[in-house]
């Protein structure tokens, strides 16, 4: 059994290259990419003025949005990164920077 196993394993080659993603380890997204995608989600929010959106914008005090808009933006971010953010965390995401930090540290963000 052991020799069969090693014989089989000798034949198998796992390609390692740029196309290979190690999902268990460095699965987190690149921070620059996260910033880009979050800013574009916020900019495409109908009530936000795209020219005012920067990585440090606060949704309510800088962009003039209300708390319901805030919920909508966080939901749009969920869809962009294919994850679900629990209520307790979602309530804290009140600015671009908070959202960027949360997503950049999230292991399941795609």
């Amino acid at each position: 059994m052991q020799s069969l196993r090693s014989a089989v394993l000798r034949q198998i080659r796992v390609p390692v290259g740029p196309s290979c993603r190690f999902l268990s380890a460095a699965a987190q997204l690149d921070k620059a990419e996260v910033i880009d995608r979050i800013l574009s989600v916020v900019k495409s929010f109908p009530k936000a003025d795209p020219s005012k959106v920067t990585p440090s914008s606060h949704f309510q005090s800088d962009l003039g949005l209300d708390s319901l808009d805030n919920v909508e933006i966080v939901m749009a971010i969920e869809e962009e990164f294919a994850l679900e953010i629990p209520d307790a965390e979602a309530d804290k995401l009140d600015s671009c920077s908070a959202a960027i930090d949360y997503i950049a540290a999230h292991p399941m963000a795609k």
Binding site: L23, S24, S67, L68, V71, E72, D87, D101
Partner: protein, 104 residues
């Protein structure tokens, strides 16, 4: 291979309370959570139904927020109960959307 499904919690976020002007009351939190639940249910519906639900629910929440005195807890709690029931019927799929009937 182990995957960590729970979101990361930074030690910093546990130590620093949110700025006082952004701290929400329990009732506000409950209402935002209700709104979030409506949007989540809407996602499970076909695109046209989804956008109709989103428009209606958004307009209704904003209308009630402006129309109801923020100290009128009895009225607010009534609206929360009513919305929770509507949410349940949307979840059950027995209702696929809202139709606004002005029966005055």
């Amino acid at each position: 291979m182990t995957r960590v499904a729970s979101p990361p919690v930074s030690a910093e976020s546990l130590l620093l309370p949110m700025a006082p002007q952004h701290r929400l009351s329990g009732l506000q939190r409950q209402i935002l959570s209700l709104y979030r639940s409506f949007l989540r249910v809407a996602r499970t519906k076909p695109p046209d139904v989804r956008s109709r639900i989103e428009k209606y629910v958004g307009a209704q929440f904003r209308h009630d927020a402006a129309a109801v005195d923020k100290k009128d807890f009895q009225q607010i709690e009534y609206l929360v109960r009513r919305a929770t029931k509507q949410l349940e019927s949307l979840r059950n799929g027995s209702i696929t959307g809202f139709q606004v009937v002005d029966g005055k």
